[in-house]
Symmetry: C2
Subunit: 343 residues, 2 copies
């Protein structure tokens, strides 16, 4: 059973992922290369459903049976889950240390039956993926043991995406509210207390007035390169109307989100080629478990958004030790470059 251990000094959590464990001498450099041999089957392709655990849900032709071909989007449990659904959380101490069982959910959303990358997916298919996220979050919210669901995507080997290109994303439901999420909630709360306005709404206004960091926008969403971008070409997508929960997004807005994502991805790919990246949804925690503090004002303080982080630079000792980031690409120049390319 994997364990969740808490660092006693700054309170960060570590998953000791025993399911992925190897012997100490198997970590030696050069022994780790996992590459998809040519001819090897992709477990995410239509027709290879038997290679994965049984699906949780799928968008498929009405006559097609579960775990057979005929689907457009498919959600499966992770093959090597970081958090597992079964068992009790069992929060406990071990001397001065704190730990619990790594209980939660870990699902994979296969975004297309075809063996293609995200930038080859049409907006209509992207919209289906966003709708499946909404379905899954609305379902997971019913489980009072899950406090947060992180939606993310790793693409490319240096971004942790492995060697299989087939477009997919992950959902991880955690039994505690993650530290990074709490930091954002605390920051937005502080701003609201001072200004009586949402900080992201203010940012959208300032960026629209200025224009030089706005890549594109439509009726419901806007794409910017943020002022303090950590990475070259870091891009945020935000709903133009204030809303703290992604999973409560009205379905009629999803096509706008899909169209803007498609445009932004097109521009990034045209400029950067087959670039590695991480995408992370930032949304408010579930309020099925309520407590005082930022929980009370979360609806006014927080504003959900998506962060796209191209991984073209390396995080190294200075970043690890200081929490500072080094970005050799001013976001104004990144935005200029992205707007210029033809898609």
């Amino acid at each position: 059973m994997p364990e969740l251990r808490r660092d006693p000094i700054i309170g960060r959590w570590v998953i000791i992922a025993t399911e992925r464990a190897k012997r100490p001498d198997q970590f030696a450099v050069g022994k780790e290369e996992e590459r998809m041999a040519s001819g090897e089957k992709c477990p995410f392709c239509e027709g290879n459903e038997k290679m994965t655990p049984a699906e949780i849900c799928a968008a498929r032709r009405p006559e097609a049976k579960p775990n057979t071909p005929g689907w457009e989007i498919r959600v499966i449990p992770s093959i090597s889950p970081l958090l597992v659904v079964e068992g009790e959380l069992d929060r406990r101490g071990r001397g001065m240390y704190d730990l619990m069982n790594a209980r939660g959910a870990h699902e994979i959303v296969i975004e297309t039956p075809l063996h293609v990358k995200e930038n080859q997916i049409r907006p209509e298919q992207l919209a289906k993926t966003f709708n499946v996220y909404l379905d899954r979050l609305q379902d997971l919210e019913q489980d009072p043991r899950i406090r947060y669901v992180l939606i993310f995507k790793n693409y490319g080997n240096v971004a942790g995406g492995g060697h299989i290109i087939h477009s997919r994303s992950q959902l991880i439901g955690t039994p505690v509210t993650p530290k990074r999420v709490k930091e954002e909630l605390a920051g937005t709360k502080k701003y609201f207390e001072y200004k009586e306005r949402c900080i992201y709404c203010d940012m959208i206004k300032q960026e629209r007035d200025l224009g030089k960091r706005v890549i594109a926008e439509n009726g419901s969403f806007i794409a910017i390169n943020p002022f303090a971008s950590r990475f070259p070409f870091e891009t945020w997508l935000l709903p133009r109307q204030h809303a703290c929960d992604f999973h409560k997004t009205r379905r009629e807005l999803i096509p706008d989100l899909a169209n803007l994502s498609w445009e932004v991805f097109g521009r990034l790919s045209r400029l950067l080629g087959d670039f590695p990246y991480n995408i992370i949804f930032h949304t408010a925690p579930f309020r099925n478990y309520r407590k005082k503090g930022y929980w009370e004002t979360i609806e006014q303080d927080y504003h959900w958004h998506i962060e796209i982080m191209p991984m073209l630079t390396r995080v190294a000792g200075f970043e690890w030790g200081s929490g500072f980031y080094i970005n050799p690409m001013p976001p104004e120049d990144a935005c200029g470059g992205l707007k210029e390319v033809k898609i």
Copy 2:
């Protein structure tokens, strides 16, 4: 002039490193490969002093002139500095955003005149490097504009060390106390207020009692794999006697630190081969700029130490979004493996 920009939501700082800037289209994947061609000269080797900026200081034979051969350790300004010594800090606002000039210090410590890696350096030479760190920190502390000096090392391309193996480390002096440092200070202060003991001293005691995460120790220092290790084989070196400032370490303790570092590195290299890693010194900020809060009790709360982070796994979307880490190697097993190898 590079800029320090502050993220308005969670307060992290980003260095917009204009000195390292490229045109937007030069970030495209495949254009970035920087590899040291065979036959190319290493700027850190003895005899190539002309390839670097003029040295700040050096340990050299008394008869040898600055910037000529005959040295054992050499400290130079960074060739592409992230923070620059000249100019004013000029903290200012731009609409809702905050920024300042990237003022500070950025130095490279060349740890040996020979073209070798850290694991090929003898303990006597390592001790000289530690002594040079003490010299530089004691000098930089005199500059009231510098609040913190981070000592770190990047080795191997995936850890940000580039393709030149020549053993070297970096010192970056920052005009603000870094967020990561503040988090540790806040955590140790909270523990002291509750327990009236230093959290690291308690940890050393518990680890020595238990034994299964202690790699080695000598009269003055101890090496452990921490309970909540973020990375496989993460290793911390701590002084056994409570002390908050690395730069006030008594010089007679340095040989013990060098010997333990040498042993730990020998064990890691024997087990992991030519592995990429980051090393980060965690020490208290300078108190040349005093304010209330953790500054008042820092001497009792904080305990300096060194963190060695082998980069054998990749940080990806889940870590970025949650602040959780995933470690497939329980630290007890890592420690067992490290103790078993012959050095």
